[in-house]
């Protein structure tokens, strides 16, 4: 980084250097840049010949002023006594303000004489000038408010002792009169309603307004009674006093901050080395470059890193695990009570804590680094007031989202991470307490369709796809058809039909599924009815839906058609009602028949508007655990093909449930989960990225 002859302020304006020593160097450096080879050596020599810092006349001047400045600052204590004795006011705030103003006056008069020497002096000058300018006025305003408060309090005391029965009586009279007025108004309104001039709704509305108006009038009158009035006044002035001082100080700080932004700084530094040196201890860099209060927060971050994140990831303070090491070892060779899964989760927690720690390192480094670079350019660092106010503005969204982020990390991200990790282990019934990493074995088993758990995978996947497509399409078809039928122009009783068709959606699904499960059980009413219909009276050849694969599958699909059509119906009805009548009228004029209108207007519009939600319906059924599990538990079972764990109607999600929860094949269950989740995410992403709201979202 070259010195150059100018420095930039925060706004980007260039200022000439005041530091003559740096300026000389800057001039030479600039010449060196432009010079051709032959001249360079000479310029370099010139650069070397420049006086050393200590010998430079400018530095000497500067030092002598600095010495004077030191003396001035040392004199502050004595002056303080003198100033304080001159201030008559008793209010502590006013006293401190006036004191500060007097001291600042002293100082800006000093700095005034040395403006050309350094931007630091210029800033001090401007700053103290602002203080000396603003605080006396602020004090005067505060004095006026305090006097007003005294007066108001005297009034209040008077009002408290005085007999106020007359005022009360007057108020009472006003109140009675106002209520009478209001009642008269209302009576008149009623009469108008009676005569049919206004509608019932207007009447209710007007009456409400009349009530409100009278209420407000009476309340206000009540507050203007002498005692209440005086109380209100005192309260109001107190409030003003409370916020006024803070507001004025804030304003002064803000003005000083503006001065800082437009007064550059000159530094000898050419390279941002502090940020690199202090990278391992967040807070130290901030402290060194002079942001003390800010450094406290980063030091807290350091405490977190060195007292929480790192010890935890090294295994200290774990519940049962061993930090990051536990993640690798999975409690292998550990005590009997050590459980791999706990080691894994604590390992993941350790990783999360470490990631947070790394973020802290990064942000701290970036903060110091940027500030150093700014300073080299000429921009002053933020003081604490500026840091705090920018944090309030820019930090607000982060602060209010923090709880959400915390919950999401532990409830969404952590479990998913653990599931992904488990899929690479041999977590199964024989390895419940201790399991080990085994790479892609689970995935290989799935793909090859081998092993106890992986065997039926492709069979189940096939049925899952059939199920998803058929069940959802059936529901969509029924819902669509019903919506079209009910919303025909001539159909009467639309409301009646709509209410009934809403029921399958409104009744909690688990109740209806369980109830249908009862109805279709071996002794269930529907089974018996079905057999009566088929004429099977002999118990031996009675058809039992729940014992036949294709019977159960067919019933499941129909049941989902029954359940899912309701929501589709409601959705389509809403959209149908929103389609403009003009479209149909235009079509009619163009000669379209009713059927053509439906085919060419209604259905395309419906499809267009509901498409993303329909994709949602397919993914919903892909994952529709309840209906499969609650209806027949995934049965009937066919061990020869499906093994011992899965039934013939199990879909992937219920299969995962059985593997993981019922049979403790967590490893392979997780592997299937990972595969399924990636598939669903992909489908959702496609559907989602096509929605309008996503496309219009700009950053």
């Amino acid at each position: 980084m070259k010195y150059g002859t100018t420095v930039l302020d925060d706004i980007g304006n260039a200022h000439p250097r005041k530091n003559l020593r740096l300026r000389e160097r800057g001039v030479l450096e600039e010449r060196l840049e432009e010079a051709d080879k032959s001249e360079r050596a000479a310029i370099r020599a010139e650069l070397r010949a420049l006086p050393k810092k200590a010998d430079h006349p400018y530095e000497k001047d500067l030092q002598s002023v600095r010495d004077q400045e030191k003396k001035l600052l040392q004199g502050a204590r004595e002056r303080r006594q003198k100033f304080l004795s001159e201030i008559k006011d008793k209010d502590p705030k006013i006293r401190s303000w006036l004191l500060e103003a007097a001291e600042s006056e002293e100082r800006y008069r000093f700095y005034e004489k040395h403006l050309d020497l350094s931007y630091d002096f210029e800033l001090e000058y401007k700053k103290h000038f602002d203080i000396a300018d603003q605080l006396p006025a602020a004090a005067a305003e505060r004095r006026a408010l305090l006097d007003e408060l005294d007066e108001a309090q005297a009034d209040l005391k008077k009002a408290q002792t005085e007999d106020n029965s007359a005022a009360k009586a007057e108020f009472e009279e006003f109140r009675v009169q106002r209520i009478a007025e209001r009642d008269a108004e209302k009576a008149k309104l009623k009469q108008m309603r009676h005569d049919g001039i206004i509608s019932a709704k207007a009447l209710a509305n007007e009456q409400k307004m009349s009530d409100l108006a009278a209420d407000e009038d009476i309340k206000s009158k009540k507050r203007s009674l002498p005692l209440a009035f005086a109380k209100d006044r005192v309260r109001n002035i107190r409030h003003k006093l409370k916020i006024d001082a803070a507001r004025k100080e804030k304003l002064l700080n803000a003005d000083i901050s503006d001065q800082r932004r437009r007064t550059p700084i000159e530094t000898n530094k050419r390279f941002p080395w502090i940020s690199w040196l202090t990278i391992l201890l967040p807070g130290l860099g901030q402290l060194i470059i002079g942001q003390r209060l800010k450094s406290i927060f980063f030091f807290l971050g350091s405490l977190y890193i060195y007292l929480i994140a790192i010890p935890y990831s090294l295994g200290y303070g774990n519940y049962r695990g061993d930090g990051i090491a536990g993640l690798l070892s999975l409690a292998e060779g550990g005590a009997r009570l050590d459980r791999s899964i706990i080691f894994m989760i604590e390992g993941v927690i350790a990783v999360i804590l470490l990631v947070l720690a790394l973020l802290l390192y990064y942000f701290s480094f970036r903060d110091v680094h940027r500030n150093e670079k700014k300073e080299i350019k000429g921009i002053r660092l933020n003081n604490w007031f500026e840091t705090r106010s920018s944090l309030k503005v820019d930090g607000f969204p982060f602060i209010v989202s923090a709880p959400a982020a915390l919950v999401t990390i532990f409830i969404v991200i952590l479990p998913i991470a653990v599931t992904i990790l488990i899929s690479f282990t041999n977590y199964d019934p024989t390895h419940q307490s201790k399991f080990v990493w085994q790479g892609l074995v689970n995935f290989k088993q799935i793909v090859a369709g081998q092993g106890i758990a992986g065997g039926p995978f492709w069979l189940i996947t096939g049925w899952t796809i059939v199920w998803t497509l058929l069940a959802t399409s059936l529901a969509i078809f029924i819902g669509f058809a019903l919506a079209l039928l009910v919303n025909q122009d001539r159909v009467l009783g639309k409301r009646f039909f709509r209410t009934i068709y809403l029921l399958p959606w409104a009744v909690p699904a688990f109740i209806t599924i369980m109830f249908f499960s009862i109805l279709f059980s071996p002794q269930g009413p529907l089974t018996i009815a079905l057999n009566n219909l088929l004429g099977n009276t002999n118990p031996a050849d009675m058809l039992n839906i729940k014992h036949t694969t294709w019977g159960t599958r067919a019933v499941l699909i129909m049941l989902q058609g029954w359940l899912g059509s309701s929501y589709i119906f409601l959705l389509c009805t809403g959209i149908l009602q929103g389609i403009s009548k003009d479209l149909y009228e235009a079509a009619e004029i163009d000669g379209a028949t009713g059927f053509q209108q439906t085919r060419h207007i209604t259905i395309p519009l419906l499809l267009y508007q509901t498409a993303p939600l329909m994709i949602g319906q397919y993914t919903f059924n892909f994952n529709n655990f309840s209906i499969i599990y609650l209806f027949n538990g995934g049965g009937p079972f066919e061990p020869s093909k499906y093994g011992n764990m899965a039934g013939t109607t199990d879909i992937l999600i219920s299969y995962i449930y059985k593997l993981t929860i019922q049979n403790q094949y967590q490893g392979i269950g997780s592997a299937i989960t990972v595969v399924v989740s990636m598939f669903i995410m992909f489908v959702t992403w496609i559907g989602f990225s096509r929605t309008k709201s996503f496309k219009e979202e700009k950053l």
Binding site: L212, A213, D217, F229, N236, D258
Partner: protein, 361 residues
Amino acid sequence: MKVELVNIGKKYEGRESFTIRNIDLVIESNQFCVILGPSGCGKSTLLRMIAGLNSITEGDLLFDGKRMNRVEPKDRDIAMVFQSYALYPHMTVYDNMAFSLKMAKERKTLIHERVLEAAKTLQIEEYLYSKPSEISGGQRQRVALGRAMVRKPAVFLMDEPLSNLDAKLREHMRVELVRLHQSLKTTSIYVTHDQTEAMTMADIIVLLDQGKVQQVGAPAEFYEKPANLFVAGFIGSPTMNIFSGRIEDGLFRTENNLIIVEPNEEDARKLKDYEGKEVCMGIRSERFNAGKAEKNSITVKIDVIEMLGKEQLLYCKFPDDQEVVISEPGYFNYGLNEDHNFSFDVDGLHFFDAETTMRIN
């Protein structure tokens, strides 16, 4: 309150260049100042900076000599009327108007008085207890004004407040706003893109374009002495006719010599330095005299006639298809496709430097 803008500039975060810069402006106490400009010229940004809703990157904003840059909006003693009125839909008109005072914890009696007083001035007493959604657009506009008045601000800021009203109501509210300003005597800053509003309401107009002040002055000045080509083209309807050409031997002539004009003495003196240089000459449609004269005359063909009653606008074409708009009294008889002679009123000419676009005379 006197409002001063000293070298104000605004740079949005993450952008390289300033949106507006070097704005210097003094609005005297009790003046009605209109900030006029095409959309995207930065006029709303400027108003929002005065209000404190946008920060000021550079320069100083002074209210009565006091620096306001970092004062919070609520402490600036201002009130603002928004384009969409920005009435709180969930509060009654009364609560809308009382809100700012309630936030400042003012005395209840004072709030009540102020609200009633404003409501009376604006004739919205009847709707005090209605919700904004229950009243008409014009009434909402009044409520928005009332909400601003209740604070008794030192500066009134208005951001295109009439643009959501229909033409008739807008005209009515324009008059009413002027009347209100005359009775309240509050310094007002009004942003609009509508030159009629600016010309009829303002004491002082500030015309902005591309983040720069083009001209500041009284409405009449804008019409009579536009400071540059942009102002000349922006103010006035129909738009001023502008011809580009050069000065030769003290005469203005276009390239094909269809227009040759001899400026009046005063203009001629100022044009001396431009001998041989490119200049633009502007003339308003009403500064043409019907009929042929010795010099400064043109012959054009009438293309379209717009009859407005008391006057008519003649859209004419030169032989080279260049267009010119001329307005003549309505009772003159003109026919389409007729050739006619008109002469320039040399006292109504505007000359601009073609290079800098600045006014010469």
